[in-house]
């Protein structure tokens, strides 16, 4: 099982969502996708997209004193 990192720190709407979708397309079932970002709305919208796509969100974590976030998703 591979691990894919999506670094969208500093990016704004709709890039974090779009880059996640690209990573899900590239990843194989079972792979771990780790998304790092700063855009506040994407922190709740990426899990919404995962739910719509039937993917499991493993963890949502705040980093750098809340300025960054990291979301781990099982493809």
């Amino acid at each position: 099982m591979a691990e894919l990192e999506v670094d969208v720190r500093g990016q704004t709407c709709p890039v974090p969502l779009v880059e996640c979708r690209k990573a899900f397309k590239k990843a194989s079932p079972g792979d771990l996708v780790i998304v790092k970002g700063t855009h506040p709305a994407s922190k709740k919208e990426i899990p919404m997209a995962c739910e719509a796509l039937g993917l499991t969100v493993l963890e949502i974590e705040d980093k750098e004193g809340g300025k960054e976030w990291e979301i781990k998703i099982r493809r």
């Binding site: 500093g10 990016q11 704004t12 890039v15 779009v18 979708r21 690209k22 997209a49 796509l53």
Partner: protein, 139 residues
């Protein structure tokens, strides 16, 4: 969860082209199908080198307002329209170009970024596309 979003882009204004491409990319990212029907002033944005050339829908001020907004967009790291268009195509988005507009405006296919266009159509293409869509917008 599937579903489809079909957007008519009638405006060629830069800010409205942004709206269309952001919404369409959001739909694709969230697992829906998405199509954009480019017509009238919107179709002008499919001409070679014209995607970013639209004026601002309000306070354009002969382009000065647009320049100011563009600078602010750059500062906010808003992606260029070219990237949003490439993402839209990469994620399977569909583009329909209005043939009647081409005739009215005297545009040939050679003037259009045909690599983006999936279908050349008229109102029937839009209705066919939108009749089973859960989201449809006129921008």
């Amino acid at each position: 969860m599937g579903g489809k979003a079909v957007i008519i882009l009638h405006s060629g204004d830069m800010d409205k082209v942004y709206s269309a491409l952001i919404i369409a990319n959001g739909a694709l990212a969230m697992g829906m199908e998405a199509s954009i029907y480019f017509t009238f002033w919107g179709l002008m944005r499919l001409k070679k080198g014209e995607l970013e050339k639209g004026p601002l829908s309000k306070m354009n001020m002969m382009g000065a307002g647009k320049q100011m907004v563009k600078k602010r967009m750059e500062k906010a790291h808003v992606a260029p329209l070219e990237k949003l268009m490439n993402d839209f195509k990469e994620l399977g988005g569909k583009i329909i170009a209005c043939e009647m507009t081409m005739e009215i405006m005297g545009i040939d296919k050679e003037q259009i970024r045909t690599e983006w266009v999936d279908e050349w159509g008229a109102v029937g293409s839009y209705i066919h596309e939108a009749r089973d869509a859960s989201i449809t917008l006129f921008i």
